[in-house]
Symmetry: C2
Subunit: 456 residues, 2 copies
């Protein structure tokens, strides 16, 4: 008989992975290359280094190196908040009355409140090593901006954060916490960039989007000396850094001879999901195992479930490279769903390719259902989840309920990416009954698709 | 050579203590008994059970039983968020350039955001077991109220929370998070109780205090059927429940052959401090070791450093039993310092007796200094501390700085009681430079002392 699994499985410090795992090395169909938006030719290293730190560009373009060593300086800082716990949700199982075994990897035990610190530390480190003095970025829910502010504070870099307007207004304290770490926060769209002024002129009432904020941050970076742009999701390098989530989860489960039947993550730009599933997808790609992989996205911004697999801009202002991904069109501006971190029109090219090739499934969820799941979860598991993370909880609960019907003792692993401490406005609106669901009509989607660039 | 200490020491689930340690059993001079405010006679069991759950009263009065078993139901729930990590502050040591070794016990990894859940679960469990249907309590910073809401939600009890007005106004999201757990939150003083109406009539501009809120919660409990009152600090039973903090800390240090030269905690009502120091004070009382014990309190509410050791009411409305403690007088209403959880005129009778007998030292700190320490700490340790906890950080940093002078490799242990996610208004005012320090004048204190009851 196997050992009784504790509520919380903590790895030792020595068990923190020494390398990130690069999923692309095992993919038969590689994610399509980024294209130059003017020439539609694949972008090469030299074209990307004015935008991103150079080492990050190398990682972005590397489809072959299976394991990439984590620099000592980054690994030392990982030790301050990692390994993160893998938690067996005994209380949730009991509350649901399910025979399923539910596990979740909790990434919220650092002040950024989420997994984002895994990648921000890497990117800030590479920027510092290169001799850069400042960085720009965007943030949706505020998690990435906070993580980047922490990382820049630690490595001694200046940071400007363009924060999606609707989150900026909903989460005044996010601005403060970034400020504690010395980050400068600007509501986006803003008048500080050309693209921001243009968007404001065209749609003065916009509540912004990740796409707008990316445009502004990129413009700011390329027009500032010794400065580069960093991004917290979508990119291949970010999925690479986040693989630490999946690697730790797999090791922790192995200690108890467990292996998931299904792995579930919330899907916005894809960084947490891509990182969590990486070693499990490796097993699928190499024929070692065949777990189900499930992405849960908001019904209001359904890039996987209702989007098109096409080349598109990553931003609204159409100044970034083109990425081949599931997208709603860069012209699609999502409704102000409370899961700000999931309000992105596109999806990681790696995840998009996996989804296209049938390695991953996806569902969408309406936000009131998601908050219902979040509230149930927090009452028994003592963690108030971020709305983004709650999408994965919703997915896990739905799977666990199916097991009640079928009697299956399915092993469910999901990613709990962060805490909801900064999302109480959203919880309050759920409790007040004023939260609404928005599902875009087919016509809304068509308008977004009209914005897709024509690429042969 | 001893093993290299990791950044985070996690005990296994099996190492969660099976019993709380009752410090009173080893004290030569026991804390003075609670007195009936009318007769000035020591209160007995029968007089207290209309106020508190009966099992809590037994623990309150028990000066003799050294170890009290933790009920299985409570210990099972402890496992969901415990053991909490003991963290070696390598980064802080490096930042300060100190030869000191700094350790901290972090209690913020649950949605209450603090150590308070250790006692709230115990009290709610005993209430449920007794067949009660509802509880009342008060909260200062909101940590205790949240912890109590979580516990009541888990054990299926109704809860009414009287929240100190200045915190209620500063921390709107605290109300929301208690709401998620089904707690009913009322700003105190309120018009829902006689004592609240009286205080409002006398001082309509008051920002409230823990003392006021206690009065209201007690009145509500004793006038409601099948309801009792629970308190998150000051009481002997709470110090008992919180001993789990110190017990786990000591076990974790022993694994690396470490023993603290000094143990530091923030002091409000004394629950975290009393719990953290309990096993170390045991060593002092039994002659096994002699670590320094240091309490850090706010300069605006200096009960240990400037108070009197006397019998006093625990509340402003003078309806509670009398406790012998260091106090500023129940009539002392502290300024609206941002560390709402430390704004209490009195101090745990256990800690008061230890301080009086010379087992513990105390210092006070102005809040701008405390926030300076908190900001420094968060930038290197990835945890944004609650203002209350930051008092202990301030104390630890001061001690570590002394070691730079003396070259001593002092081992410092401090308690990091909670996260500052709900305290961003305070951090923002610190960053804006609008935060002020308030130190009561001798005349202010005299006015408070005038409110002390005359007890022979």
């Amino acid at each position: 008989m196997s050992k009784k699994v504790p509520y919380r499985i903590y790895l030792s410090e020595d068990q923190i992975p020494k390398s990130w795992y690069n999923l692309r090395a095992d993919m038969k169909n590689k994610p399509a290359p980024l294209l130059n938006p003017a020439t539609h030719k694949p972008l090469v290293y030299e074209e990307l280094i004015p935008i991103f730190p150079s080492a990050c560009v190398s990682q972005e373009l590397d489809n072959d190196t299976r394991y990439i060593e984590i620099p000592d300086e980054v690994r030392e800082m990982y030790k301050v908040f990692r390994p993160s716990p893998l938690i067996r949700a005994y209380n949730l199982e009991k509350e649901l009355g399910t025979p399923a075994k539910i596990y979740y990897k909790f990434e919220g035990n650092n002040t950024s409140g989420s997994h984002k610190l895994n990648s921000s530390l890497a990117q800030a480190y590479y920027a510092k090593e290169q001799g850069l003095t400042s960085l720009t970025t965007e943030t949706g829910a505020g998690q990435w901006g906070t993580a980047m502010a922490e990382a820049c504070s630690y490595f001694g870099l200046d940071l400007t954060v363009y924060m999606v307007k609707c989150s900026y207004d909903q989460k005044p304290f996010r601005k403060s916490v970034m400020g504690v770490f010395g980050g400068k926060v600007i509501s986006s769209p803003s008048s500080t960039t050309e693209v921001g002024r243009k968007i404001l002129a065209e749609t003065p009432e916009t509540t912004g989007s990740l796409g707008c904020a990316i445009s502004e941050a990129v413009e700011k970076a390329v027009t500032t000396e010794n400065c580069r742009y960093v991004l917290g999701s979508v990119l291949n390098q970010v999925v690479l850094h986040q693989s630490i989530i999946g690697l730790e989860s797999k090791t922790a489960l192995e200690m108890y001879d467990e292996y998931p039947d299904i792995v579930i993550g919330c899907a916005g730009g894809g960084s947490n999901l891509g990182g969590l599933i990486a070693p499990f997808v490796q097993d699928k790609l190499t024929g070692k195992a065949n777990p189900e992989i499930l992405a849960v996205e908001p019904a209001s911004c359904p890039s996987l479930t209702r989007g098109r697999f096409a080349y598109d801009f990553c931003d609204t202002g159409k100044i970034t490279p083109l990425a081949k991904m599931y997208t709603l069109g860069s012209g699609f501006i999502p409704s102000s769903n409370h899961a700000g971190g999931l309000r992105f029109h596109g999806m990681s090219p790696i995840l998009s390719q996996l989804y296209y090739d049938g390695y991953m499934k996806a569902i969408s969820a309406e936000q009131t259902k998601v908050f219902e799941a979040a509230t149930l979860f927090s009452r028994v598991e003592t963690i108030l989840p971020a709305p983004e993370s709650a999408h994965a909880i919703y997915g896990a609960i739905e799977e666990a309920k199916k097991c009640i019907e079928t009697g299956e003792e399915k092993k469910i692993l999901f990613g709990l990416t962060g805490t909801g401490y900064f999302d109480l406005t959203a919880y309050q609106s759920y409790m007040d009954g004023t939260m609404t669901d928005y599902i875009p009509s087919d016509e809304d989607l068509e308008k977004g698709f009209d914005s897709l660039p024509k690429v042969d």
